[in-house]
Subunit: 177 residues, 2 copies
Amino acid sequence: MDTAARLFYARGVSNVGINEIIARAGVARMTLYHHFPSKDALIKAVLERRTAERDEWLDRAADMASEPLGRMLAVFDLFMEWAASPDFRGSPLVSATFELGGQLNAARPFAQAHGQRIERYFAEQAREAGLHDPEGLGQQLLMLLEGASVVVLVKGDAKAAELAKSAAASLIAGAAS
Amino acid sequence: MDTAARLFYARGVSNVGINEIIARAGVARMTLYHHFPSKDALIKAVLERRTAERDEWLDRAADMASEPLGRMLAVFDLFMEWAASPDFRGSPLVSATFELGGQLNAARPFAQAHGQRIERYFAEQAREAGLHDPEGLGQQLLMLLEGASVVVLVKGDAKAAELAKSAAASLIAGAAS
DNA sequence: TTGCCATCAGACCGACCGGTACGTATTATC
DNA sequence: GATAATACGTACCGGTCGGTCTGATGGCAA
């Protein structure tokens, strides 16, 4: 699963075949199919694990500051760090959603939960800080985060992440008055 | 090309085969290969056309208001309209970039130009309006737009587009002082 | 020791992929 | 009416895909 997760993220879910996964993992074909009935199941399992990682990520952000406003901005600090890593490819859940496209999309529910989770995190902090319309602000900050992912990925330049943080600060300031 | 563009957008560039394109377009295999040497060339031609559409789109936004601030927000108005259409799937250029993934990505240059074009549009209006840091603001608004695309696509709910507009208004207001 | 079970290696399957070959029909040009 | 260009349909190619089958190997528990 480590191998699959790495390959899926680096080159896309449907651009990586079973053959490559088993070769790189040093595992026999039937061993993989013993644990996962199909490639789809493997994909879902990987996405599930990504979901857990995302939760840990948010927990880390929450630990980085004691004030709700700081906890909101900490997410953007962590994102800046992540975006600067050379193999950054955006959220795996969102990537997979784009990639699988179409309507019958195995990844979309995961990406949906992903967005909802981050949105709620922001909204909770915003409510605690007494800001206006915490739900709306949460969704706006989520958009900023996803947009920054896209821009960093497309431009190949992590500087956009800093602008995302300053934009977030500006939105938060606007919701404080 | 109409057929290819439609199918590519609806189901993803690599999830649509040559066979389906020629079948739906009512065209012979060799006819297609007479006009485009390979599927890659067809994809590039389609993306090229999408680029032109995007330029028209921005021109329409520019015509919707006489003041630079209005011209900036008009982009978000047009986006709201677009996001509400049932077959909305985000920017075709960004989608293709995600989908093709990897490093040798035929779509990324297109998406890059796409982002740069929108960013510059915002920056020009911002400069004309005398706002602070027009380039930075332009990139922030671009992130907002791309993020809104992602959120609308993932949630399947176009309401996020309205929040994107209000966030844009807030950012613009913040840059005015 | 015996039997079980996970793992291994790799041949194999049908389906589909992008792309080519080939021969025919239609249309426009002169 | 001959010529050339374009379109058509379809069989076919090699390669890759996800997934199955077989048979051997080795550790572990009863």
